[in-house]
């Protein structure tokens, strides 16, 4: 395996010191002369016609500079699936009707926040309440209220996958298990509320600073919804305080800031309150998962039939992609010789669900993993052994779903079982204690191009200088996951430079090379990383010649960039410092700067992703049989992310995903009353805190992904999936409660224990 000098090292993040000082500028930290403050008026109804809006009182309030409704906009719909325009179902401000509590109806901007808030109360909206639906089953009933006219069934997306003969597979099975799982919605709960600031320049063009994961997508969709050209919009991503999938679409406040900046000629900033984030914010899809799976006596999988209904809320948002992906993830991890999937994305009058860390995997794999455990018990096989028997391996192919190049899944299962002393603990734990396992596989970016970009998926520009430094330009978005650092590490490794030799400019659509689809689906390291390598290699081509000429090297000499030098690989004294080499190359080119552009677009990699990450996790819990409270005592994780580029970053992501998984399993949920979200603050939306985190051990499984930059692939996002099934299985092992409807709550556990004691059922 290749030896690296910077890859695999605990390089501190490039943005850490400025963030530690409090001097990193996030969107809401920005202030421009003459800036106005915007606020959105949201619908109090889940489903209603807008009969009339009177903005006159609000507009005449002193200090108010602009009030807009849909009538002031071009009324152009948007959505991330540009390739299928009928799926683009959202207006920035509601046209004719509102579809969920929190739907944006009007916007104001004023000289200060208080005036803007006051003006909101003065906008008079006359609604005609319509019947509404709040769950998938009711929404699919014949005669149910139609939420979008274009979609009379309320089912906006159907996705089917089929290979093999599922019926035959079940017929050949010794054991068939059929279950229905329901999983709930949770919030991204990024710490930085969404914020956008727009300014118009002299030519009427717009600059938008916004807290986003997808500057390029925002640029394109903002242009189309405003009826402007793409190049008339410049989107800049300042530091972003987390996203987790919740900031990957054009949103109403971005549109309103831009339009109102145009209308007033003054900069306009919108920053959401936490209450708005919870009331109307995107969330992970609740799903109803009907899963049927067959085995032979020896544990060999025979078939799987998976039907998933996604509760999409009022708009598609990223739901179509989630519908596609949860079917793919249903086919992952184990070798199902026969597989059938039908996914339906269903509208309801609730806040739209969208992409969230794991993007369909946490839901789909919850069902997969719990069913594996149920089957293991029924077949009398240890859950670990059953998994190893069926696990996917390198070289496996699934039609339409996956070509698996590198795969450290079996090694992960074995490692986690060993670390956790699985076999021993599974038999001999104290009463009330339990141990359980959950596994995952995840994509390293999507191959699908429903956004229909005309550009490469990722691009990089590298400029090198005679002072021995390099400048990397990339549209990739660091939203806290650390991609700026990783890209710098990759460039430094490739050019033999130090981290401090590299300056980086990122995520400015007018300055950085077209294009990058954004930070989602764990695509940045692999795709932007490959683009950086591509550019770096082109730089090397340009400077190697000058070294070769200078030392009159035989053409068979391989050159390398190492330790700040450009040199012959076999005779390092035939070489120059990096800066000298650049200077010579530049001289040879009569002053032309040494610049190169690189790009990456996955081709011939199937329809889903160029590479898959894998892993397994074990949880040990203690359940209080009197209260039903679950305490997670320890977590063990073994995962395969290919080459680990920055160990501390990977471990940090992993611990973060355990926090999120813990919340998903045990404490986080939206409490809804019909279409209204009741818990709209952090006092009532319960995220795990420092005191709730269990001790945790981790092992990186050593693999090398041929398609990845320096062998790397997805890390940290797939880990959003295994925690909930691992905890759930541990709870079952501890007290016999099998959770089929997340989250696991003390109430459900106690009710189940009572039922069991009545019927004298299993007591683990």
């Amino acid at each position: 395996m290749k030896r690296f000098s910077i890859i695999g090292k605990d390089v501190p993040r490039t943005d850490a010191a400025t963030k530690a000082r409090g001097s990193a500028i996030y969107t809401d930290d920005m202030k421009l002369p003459g800036m106005l403050h915007g606020r959105l008026l949201r619908s109090p109804f889940a489903h209603a016609l807008i009969k009339h809006i009177d903005t006159s009182k609000a507009a005449s309030l002193p200090g108010v500079k602009c009030v807009i409704t849909a009538e002031d906009t071009p009324k152009i719909k948007y959505g991330n699936w540009r390739l299928f325009p009928e799926t683009q179902d959202e207006y920035a401000l509601a046209v004719e009707k509102v579809r969920f509590i929190g739907d944006e109806v009007a916007a104001v901007c004023a000289i200060d926040k208080d005036t803007a808030e006051e003006a909101l109360d003065l906008i008079e909206v006359e609604y005609e309440d319509l019947p509404a639906v709040f769950d998938v089953a009711s929404s699919m009933q014949p005669g149910a209220p139609v939420i979008h006219d274009y979609c009379p069934t309320n089912i906006s997306v159907n996705r089917k996958i089929k290979y093999g003969d599922v019926e035959k597979g079940f017929a050949d099975s010794d054991y068939v298990r059929e279950d229905v799982f329901t999983v709930h919605g949770v919030s991204h709960a990024y710490l930085e509320p969404c914020s956008a600031l727009a300014q118009v320049d002299l030519d009427g063009r717009i600059t938008l600073w916004t807290s986003t994961q997808v500057p390029y997508i925002v640029q394109c969709l903002l242009a189309s919804t405003l009826g402007m050209r793409e190049n008339d919009i410049r989107v800049i991503k300042p530091y972003v305080g987390g996203g987790f999938g919740g900031k990957m679409e054009l949103r109403a406040w971005e549109f309103c800031a831009a339009l109102m900046a145009k209308m007033t000629g003054r900069p306009v900033k919108f920053t959401l309150s936490r209450e708005e984030e919870f009331l109307a914010g995107r969330r992970r899809h609740p799903m109803t998962i009907h899963s049927k799976v067959g085995f032979r006596k020896d544990g060999t999988l025979t078939a799987k039939d998976l039907k998933i209904r996604l509760d999409g809320g009022a708009y598609n948002a990223m739901g179509p992609t989630a519908t596609f992906l949860c079917g793919n993830f249903g086919a992952m991890l184990y070798r199902y010789p026969n597989y059938r999937f039908h996914g339906e994305h269903v509208y309801t009058n609730k806040p739209p669900a969208s992409a969230m860390r794991g993007f369909g995997a946490p839901q789909s794999l919850y069902a997969t993993e719990i069913q594996m455990n149920i089957a293991a018990e029924a077949l009398g096989i240890d859950p670990v052994d059953l998994r190893i028997k069926n696990a996917q391996v390198s070289g496996d192919e699934i039609p339409d779903v996956a070509v698996i190049s590198s795969c450290g899944f079996v090694e992960s299962i074995k490692a986690v079982a060993e670390m956790s002393e699985w076999k021993e603990k599974r038999k001999n734990l104290k009463p009330g204690h339990g141990i359980g396992i959950g596994c995952y596989s995840f994509i390293s970016g999507g191959v699908f191009n429903w956004f229909n970009t005309q550009y490469p998926f990722s691009a990089a520009e590298v400029r090198v200088f005679s002072d021995g430094t390099a400048h990397l330009l990339s549209m990739a978005s660091d939203i806290g996951q650390g991609s700026d650092t990783v890209l710098k590490q990759i460039l430094a490794e490739e050019l033999g430079l130090r981290m401090e030799d590299i300056r980086i400019t990122v995520a400015d659509t007018s300055m950085t090379p077209q294009a990058d689809l954004g930070a989602w689906g764990s695509r940045v390291t692999l795709m932007a990383g490959n683009a950086v390598i591509d550019a770096a290699r082109k730089i090397k081509e340009q400077i190697f010649g000058s070294v070769s000429a200078r030392f009159n090297l035989n053409v068979i000499h391989e050159l390398e960039c190492k330790d700040g030098r450009v040199q012959s690989k076999v005779k390092s004294d035939y070489g120059l410092s990096f800066g000298e080499a650049v200077a010579m190359a530049q001289k040879a080119n009569r002053g032309e700067p040494i610049v190169a552009r690189g790009s990456y677009t996955p081709r011939d990699k199937g329809l889903v992703t160029p590479a898959f990450g894998f892993g397994a996790q074990v949880a040990e819990v203690e359940v209080d049989r009197e209260t039903g409270l679950v305490e997670v005592k320890h977590m063990w994780t073994a995962h395969d992310c290919g080459t680990v580029i920055n160990p501390r970053s990977v471990e940090g992501q992993l611990a973060g995903s355990i926090q999120m998984g813990l919340g998903y399993a045990l404490s986080e949920q939206f409490v809804m009353d019909g279409g209204k979200t009741l818990n709209t603050n952090f006092a009532d939306y319960k995220m795990p805190m420092a005191t709730d985190m269990p001790p945790s051990d981790v092992v990186h499984i050593d693999t090398y992904e041929p398609e990845g930059p320096m062998g790397a692939k997805e890390a940290g996002e797939g880990l959003a999936s295994p925690t909930a099934p691992a905890i759930s299985d541990a709870v079952y092992h501890a007290v016999g409660y099998r959770c089929m409807d997340l989250p696991i709550t003390p109430e459900k556990i106690l009710e189940d224990l009572e039922k069991m004691s009545e019927t004298g059922d299993k007591q683990a």
Partner: protein, 165 residues
Amino acid sequence: MKHQIRFTVNGDEYVVAVDPRRTLNEVLRDDLNLTGTKLGCGTGDCGACTVIVEDRTVSSCLTLAVSVNGKAVRTVEGLAPSGEELHPIQEAFVKTGAIQCGFCTSGMEMAAAHLLSRNPSPGEEEIRAGLSGHLCRCTGYNQIVEAVSVAAEAMRNSKTEEVKG
């Protein structure tokens, strides 16, 4: 009616006319341009807005600016001794990987400063308790806990700047 308040932030004296309903968070961020202090929830539930008033941490979103009249406020901008150096707490946060998106960081650092001013050698549980109520969605807290412990050791060893808390 606006009140004229006089207070210090990181040793600098400010005289500001504020409406009584202005929070300390707004005055720091909007009037004094000290944007290192964040606003994560506005209801005292996330810890991102934490600053030190006199000798203890408070949620700046729940503190009326008028109430700090005559008091000394310390924010994240007051931790580092200079533009070149970092405070040991900041140094430890950088080194251990405790910073991802960074939005909770200043609140966490202020909580750490407060904790270490009272307890220079906190155990892991004490650190976790001292940070409890400070939300982080990125790190799972482990590296933050490690950072506080590393900072404590560095501060004990060097006894450089006394955190006045």
